[in-house]
Symmetry: C2
Subunit: 208 residues, 2 copies
């Protein structure tokens, strides 16, 4: 199909499609004479993945590029891909990382993970993000919120078993790779949306 | 204290503190002669809340303003404040909301919530976000991920009971208000960081 058709079917505007092509997020089509190229189902599929990562997952162009690079690297083990997806959605780092308060929170995060017997890389970006939140709650004098941590850890541990099991059940590498990426980003979007709805319900039914 | 001291103690740079003052996120200090004002503990506390919402929660200046407006509105019921915090972290809306595929996903989100007996506002932004993720997974041909939804809903329902209970236990309105805001934003940061760590652990220990 022509690039105009790719735009029409995907619902992504032509200037945006061309931007993704220039940025290398979308691989070039097969050349068909000057200024024309042929695109196929794989381009449509890639375009949908890009939009999902950006629109629902909130990833930047740089974040999407990082994830797609990992997706296309067939030599990369699935487990490393997960780390790559996490890096891409990790976002900006806080300015005060490295202060005494933050380092104490970082140690607290590492202890929590160790206490649960979780095997995670010591440089996992999520450890720093957990420390960010712990440090912020302590700074705000809201330590009581930290009593929720164990319940959170218990819940996500159970969910992770189902999530990883689902992806492994796919069998084919391409399906597993896309499952890791979308499961990380879109799964998180589903979980946080549901959390807000559950909070609204609980707040509505138990408020004084 | 002087504005320079407020900057030093909080660790927020002087230009940034002045920016928050100009933007009205930080209330003005008590005037102390020309070009001087006196700031107190309440300013320090507010400054920490602003940084936590922006750095850890990823809120924009507009989002922070919206949340602080609600925090300062003592006439607003706590339950409405939760909705306001959710609006502020809702982020940008997707371009394709309104398509047939999205509307079907939106109906699916509403059915899921109804099936669980959750009382939520029909215009809750989280319902649209849930629909965004469902629509994206269907578009990507990853419907199997939707089998996770019930497990997510079950988990967040249990967590919401503890979260709301913890905030209500604070008793004083100021504490409850800050608890709703930070519990929504920082609690989400803790939950998603832990989810990524649990995924890494599960992936590392079960990958083929």
């Amino acid at each position: 199909m022509k690039v105009s058709e790719l735009s029409r079917i995907s619902g992504v505007s032509l200037p945006t499609v061309k931007y993704y092509l220039r940025e290398g997020l979308l691989p070039p089509g097969r050349p068909m004479g000057r200024n024309q190229a042929d695109y196929d189902e794989s381009h449509l599929r890639r375009l949908r993945l890009i939009r999902a990562l950006m629109d629902v997952g909130g990833l930047s162009v740089a974040g999407v590029r990082q994830v797609l690079h990992a997706v296309d690297d067939t030599a990369m083990p699935g487990h490393h891909l997960l780390g790559c997806a996490h890096e891409a959605i990790a976002g900006v780092s806080r300015a005060d990382r490295g202060t005494a308060g933050w380092l104490a929170a970082r140690a607290e995060a590492a202890r929590l993970v160790a206490a649960r017997g979780w095997h995670v890389h010591d440089r996992a970006p999520a450890l720093d993000q957990l420390a960010d939140a712990i440090a912020a709650l302590r700074e705000l004098g809201q330590e009581d919120m930290l009593t929720l941590l164990d319940g959170y850890a218990e819940a996500v541990e159970q969910l992770a078993r189902r999530e990883v099991g689902l992806v492994l059940a796919r069998g084919d590498r391409a399906g597993m790779v896309e499952g890791v990426v979308t499961g990380t980003v879109l799964g998180e979007a589903m979980l946080t949306a549901l959390r807000r709805l559950a909070q609204e319900h609980t707040s509505a039914t138990t408020s004084p």
